[in-house]
């Protein structure tokens, strides 16, 4: 019963025009990126870890955004179309519904990463970084994807219109991405310092640098990643908590 819903979500959001479109965009981006790294002179001089990191960041960033957009439409969309009421009258629990939608987003993530593996392999193999790339992508990457999709699903649950849920999701994405745009000096003081020290996004960035460039040992990296884990647990916890609020009513 749960699987039937996962299957339906996958068909509706991933093996649909929208999903295939997203997939196409991601692979196009990867192709352009890889091509530039190889053929543009200035870029081809970059060391391999930097190249790999840039690609990973971009891949993660765009996938988080896509996952959030899909997540934001998932429940609000059913409310808008008037399909949620019938769904709630099946033996599915509200929590099942949230989890099935999350699972579908994870399937999308899995497919995208599989498509990007050849690119990552080519970019990483010389420096022998490919196993590390896999670990980062499927470990930290997956955790980030689940966290952000959960947030999008929360918006989708509490809001009634797909449009609003989507706008909020994109805003949340931009806010969490702020640390990436802060300069190193800015990060040293005030609010920027607080944000960059505690934000899961900057924690995962720091960890990335320490893994690929500084070759830091695993226990230390894990400590650095604590904000990421906390963020993950909180997001998932609230998504499951808010599941009770999944309501068919439109308007109000």
């Amino acid at each position: 019963m749960f699987l039937a819903l996962v299957k339906k979500e996958t068909k509706e959001h991933i093996f649909s025009r929208k999903g295939i479109g997203f997939l196409f965009v991601v692979s196009l981006l990867l192709s352009i990126l890889s091509f530039s790294f190889i053929s543009v002179k200035e870029l081809s001089l970059l060391d391999q870890p930097t190249v790999v990191m840039t690609t990973l960041k971009l891949l993660l960033g765009i996938n988080i955004l896509i996952a959030m957009v899909i997540g934001a439409t998932m429940i609000a969309g059913e409310k808008e179309k008037g399909t949620l009421e019938s769904l709630l009258l099946t033996p599915l629990t509200k929590r099942n519904i949230i989890l099935a939608k999350l699972a579908a987003i994870l399937i999308f993530w899995l497919i995208v990463t599989l498509v990007s593996l050849p690119y990552l392999f080519v970019l990483a193999y010389q420096a022998n970084l490919f196993p590390t790339v896999l670990l980062y992508l499927y470990g930290i990457g997956t955790i980030l994807i689940i966290s952000f999709s959960s947030i999008a699903l929360i918006f989708s649950t509490v809001l009634v219109s797909t449009k609003n849920a989507m706008i909020l999701a994109i805003m949340a994405f931009l806010i969490t991405a702020i640390p990436m745009f802060l300069s190193t000096t800015m990060k040293k003081s005030g609010l920027a310092k607080v944000i960059s020290e505690n934000s899961p996004v900057s924690a995962s960035m720091t960890a990335m640098k320490d893994i690929f460039i500084n070759k830091m040992a695993a226990p230390q990296v894990l400590i650095e990643l604590i904000p990421v884990f906390i963020f993950f647990l909180l997001a998932l916890f609230f998504a499951l908590l808010i599941a009770k609020k999944v309501d068919f009513l439109r308007g109000e």
Binding site: M1, L3, A4, L5, K8, K11, E12, S16, K81, G82, T83, E85, S86, L87, L88, L89, T90, P91, L92, T93, F248
Partner: protein, 251 residues
């Protein structure tokens, strides 16, 4: 089948949509739940099926206390909500397959059951057509098929004939009569088509702004109001207007 006592719903904004409603639906009834727009019909159905909490009162469906058996009750009821949507990208058959899986029918059962309910609503020939290409009447019939997928004892239909042409309305009526007679399904239906309700329902309730005005068999109501409303060939419609109209009868 359904018993409610002093059922009441006050919405969050303080609006009292249903007031002390006591309804009695018997097994095998085709029960017409009638009332003007805003009378509280949809609100009542949503309480009966456990989708919204009553503010107070008792309610029992299929011998189960709805408040205490929210999950169990889903097995006994089928519901066609008031204004509902479909997954347009599915075919009729895929749609029913999907719901049969959600209702935990096992794989072997599913195919036969889907074929059976498609046949019941005469959609077998359209089974493999996308729902986006269905007409309104076909959609409503598909909706009814969906309510039947898990063999419920009672189905709730909230304005199933809304927006259908006369033929479409007749099709639905025939399906319902057949379901009731052959499969023994109890039917709780709301509709504004009083002539049709009079034809297919054995019992009706008439509500006005959340208050129950009458609950009885169609014939008893007609007999009862014959004395009050002086009109030849008294119909359910006349009784309805008599009970729900705000205008006092012009002398």
């Amino acid at each position: 089948m359904i018993n409610t006592q002093q059922l009441k719903k006050v919405y969050d904004n303080g609006f009292e949509a249903v007031k002390n409603l006591s309804l009695h639906v018997h097994k095998g009834d085709i029960y017409g739940f009638l009332g003007p727009n805003g009378a509280g019909k949809t609100t009542t159905i949503r309480m009966l099926i456990g989708l919204i909490e009553p503010t107070s009162g008792e309610l029992e469906v299929s011998n189960l206390n709805v408040k205490k058996n929210k999950e169990e009750i889903k097995k006994h009821i089928g519901v066609l909500p008031e204004s509902h949507g479909y997954y347009e990208w599915m075919t009729g058959e895929e749609y029913l397959q999907f719901f049969s899986a959600l209702h935990k029918l096992d794989k072997k059962q599913r195919k036969a059951k889907v074929a059976e309910v498609l046949d019941l609503v005469s959609l077998t020939s359209k089974a493999n057509v996308k729902i986006s290409q269905y007409s309104r009447g076909m959609r409503q019939r598909l909706g009814i098929a969906r309510t039947l997928i898990h063999d419920p004892e009672i189905i709730f239909l909230d304005e199933p004939t809304l927006g259908l042409d006369p033929q479409g309305q007749k099709d639905i009526e025939n399906i319902l009569l057949n379901l009731n007679k052959v499969n023994g399904v109890t039917i709780f239906i709301t509709s504004h088509l009083l002539k049709d309700i009079e034809k297919i329902c054995n019992r009706v309730a008439i509500v006005k702004t959340g208050t129950l005005m009458e609950e009885d068999s169609v014939q008893s109501l007609l007999d009862k109001y014959k004395k009050e409303i002086h009109k030849e060939d008294l119909s359910l419609e006349d009784v309805f207007f008599h009970l729900t109209s705000d205008r006092k009868e012009e002398q």
